[in-house]
């Protein structure tokens, strides 16, 4: 199930982690659906919330949960043959969950058709460039905003 509601946050430390990875092969829609189904089932068991984007063969995933559960999940992801080049972009304490309604929200990103307008940064490129922490944090927040706007309009 994609949506769930954490109406009461238990009194325990939380961690936020954002990682990027590259798919080891092309994913059909059915395979992506299966990956999401597995992720939601596992995240529900671990009380992890978050969201996933996939574009041009690259994943960016936001995870929220207890440090123990996040670390357990990351070990699993690093061992998952569907991912390679797993790179943690952001890892920090979290006061309050931002994706309370999603065990693993997903919005399909359309292929980019053109270069950004003059003067615009490319959020995905910024996430992929392993730039300084401020740039990475800003790009991650932009992606999260995009997800919330898109998911709120369905």
């Amino acid at each position: 199930m994609q949506q769930q509601h954490h109406s009461v946050e238990r009194d325990e430390a939380l961690k936020s982690l954002v990682y990027a990875s590259t798919a080891t092969r092309q994913f059909s829609d059915a395979e992506l659906d299966e990956l999401l189904r597995q992720a939601r089932e596992r995240n529900e068991q671990l009380d992890i919330t978050g969201m996933l984007t996939f574009r041009d063969g690259k994943f960016v995933q936001f995870l929220e949960g207890t440090p123990e559960h996040i670390d357990e999940l990351m070990r699993s992801i690093r061992a998952d043959e569907r991912h390679r080049d797993v790179s943690v972009l952001i890892e920090e304490p979290l006061a309050e969950r931002q994706f309370t309604s999603w065990t693993m929200g997903y919005e399909r990103m359309r292929d980019i058709q053109s270069a950004p307008p003059a003067g615009f940064r490319d959020t995905y490129a910024d996430l992929d460039s392993h730039a300084d922490s401020a740039t990475t944090a800003r790009a991650a927040r932009e992606l999260a905003l995009w997800f919330k706007v898109r998911s709120g309009r369905r």
């Binding site: 990103m109 307008p117 959020t123 944090a137 800003r138 999260a144 905003l145 706007v149």
Partner: protein, 83 residues
């Protein structure tokens, strides 16, 4: 691809997430976003997703968001509504 403006003091950083979705921020705080709902229809929303208006050109939409952010109380810009 990512060689656009960088965030200096008071300067707006503009970013493109998809071909039709743009975000403006200043010093790490979201000002809002621009969503091109169809060709020639750029909808501008503030950082709380409140609609500011619709414009026919991206440049006009950017200016509207810039003006709206300069009118907003500074403490309101600290709450992004995103991460």
């Amino acid at each position: 691809m990512s060689g656009g403006s960088t965030s200096q003091q008071g300067e707006i950083t503009w970013a493109r997430i998809e071909d039709d979705f743009f975000v403006g921020s200043r010093d790490g705080d979201f000002l809002g976003f621009i969503d091109r709902e169809e060709p020639g229809a750029y909808v501008v929303c503030d950082q709380f997703s409140n609609r500011i208006g619709q414009f026919g050109e991206l440049e006009s939409a950017m200016e509207a968001l810039r003006e709206a952010s300069s009118d907003a109380p500074s403490d309101a810009l600290e709450e992004t509504g995103a991460l």
